[in-house]
Subunit: 255 residues, 2 copies
């Protein structure tokens, strides 16, 4: 599917010197419904890229899909529906739900998820030089951020290379696309994730649940984001730049 | 209620020159349940400020409260519950819901809201000098943004002055606090709202529904945010700075 993801709009720029015309590029936001085994679960505004990954990751974020290997097939209908077919327990329904502070394609988490235990993480470490390459290559792979100022980006690095970098109108959706790619078997969770968005609880939680050992952000964590990283044993790095990173928890994975 | 809203955390800063210690300030994110007439409607992660306003605005964002004057009382229990008492139609339940791309305390909108008509807006215009004062005073009123890099701000300007400026871990929550203040009768909707967050559809929609004529952002709108501004006749201004603003729709209200 190759629908356009941006459009150009004439704007009027006002400054103390007067007004002028200018063209701005806008991210195209489209509503998509996500269905699990033909049952509609929810809908989200998205940027129309990596929708198979988004559909799988969305259901993980909502607590319906919980493990790698459950998703069998994802069909995207350009009229606005993502149909995910997965082997899930028929009785699986997320418990009491908290709507989160996240840019929220999947801005819902259950109290159970927030308080539950985490599986042990796979062994992984990343060098400082790799972080530099990760962020630089991620920037190159994400023109829409600079073009529209209305999308977040999220990338994944493992085995010494950038495995994927996705953009979306929501910071959650971009992370969901990466998590969806892991669920679809495109790469293993043993690596580092980088997001341009803030690491609030919901963001760190889904990365920890899928088993990503290193979670990085261009910007900052919240108190609860850090608390979840501590509980899960996840390395949490913030203010990540090619030449600098600020580690809030578990620095030993950055070597 | 005066719970602390930030905490200080030791971090390890890595640069090519080596590592050093540094203290960073984190925004404290807390889960709150919102109840309407003693029935639990949802929950959200919030920054613990302006919670009465948040409770009212949250229910507006979710489609339960629809008009100024409906909210009678809001009680905040510091254990994590906001109880809103409002005169609502008992059968009022939002229809098919779309989870939005927004930083999403109230990241849910119904298709009905997205497609419905808007009431005519009240007459209002703002001068370029007022916009400058609005943004400058808003910056002064919001220390947490600079301190934590993990909150969004939202302010309201009318009758020649800054009426309120709130911060929250979600850009939606901050807007909801302003909308809640309008619902609670603290000021009229005939004014200008400014958010540090992106103007995705959900953000513009709730401002238009409550009847705010001028909607401004430090950053950009999405395609659907602009489309909703057009349908509602709302002035949409982006990339707003003290000395510059970029008008995407209805420039006639900025004089």
């Amino acid at each position: 599917m190759n629908n356009p993801v941006t459009l150009v709009q004439d704007t009027v720029v006002l400054t103390p010197e007067g007004s002028s015309q200018r063209q701005e590029s806008l991210a195209i936001e489209v509503p998509y419904t996500v269905a699990l085994n033909d049952e509609e679960i929810g809908a989200s505004m998205v940027l129309e890229t990596a929708l198979e990954e988004f559909g799988a990751g969305f259901l993980f974020g909502q607590g319906y899909v919980t493990r790698i290997g459950q998703v069998r097939e994802v069909l995207v209908c350009p009229e606005g529906r993502i149909s995910v077919y997965a082997d899930v327990d028929e009785n699986m329904k997320p418990k009491e739900v908290i709507i989160t502070s996240g840019c929220g394609g999947t801005g819902k988490i259950s109290r159970e998820m927030l308080e539950g235990a985490f599986d042990p993480l796979r062994e992984y470490s990343i060098t400082f030089a790799e972080i530099r390459d990760f962020i630089r290559q991620g920037l190159q792979a994400s023109p829409l951020g600079r073009e529209t100022h209305c999308v977040h980006g999220c990338g994944f690095w493992s085995e010494g290379k950038l495995q994927a970098y996705f953009e979306d109108v929501g910071r959650h959706n971009a992370v969901d696309k990466i998590i969806g790619a892991i669920l679809l078997g495109k790469f293993s969770a043993a690596g580092a994730i980088y997001t341009t968005g803030r690491l609030t609880s919901d963001m760190v939680l889904k990365c920890a649940r899928i088993g990503i050992p290193v979670v990085m952000s261009r910007t900052s964590p919240s108190s609860l984001g850090l608390a979840i990283a501590r509980r899960a044993g996840v390395t949490l790095a913030a203010y990540a730049r090619p030449e600098r990173v600020n580690i809030f928890h578990a620095p030993e994975r950055i070597v």
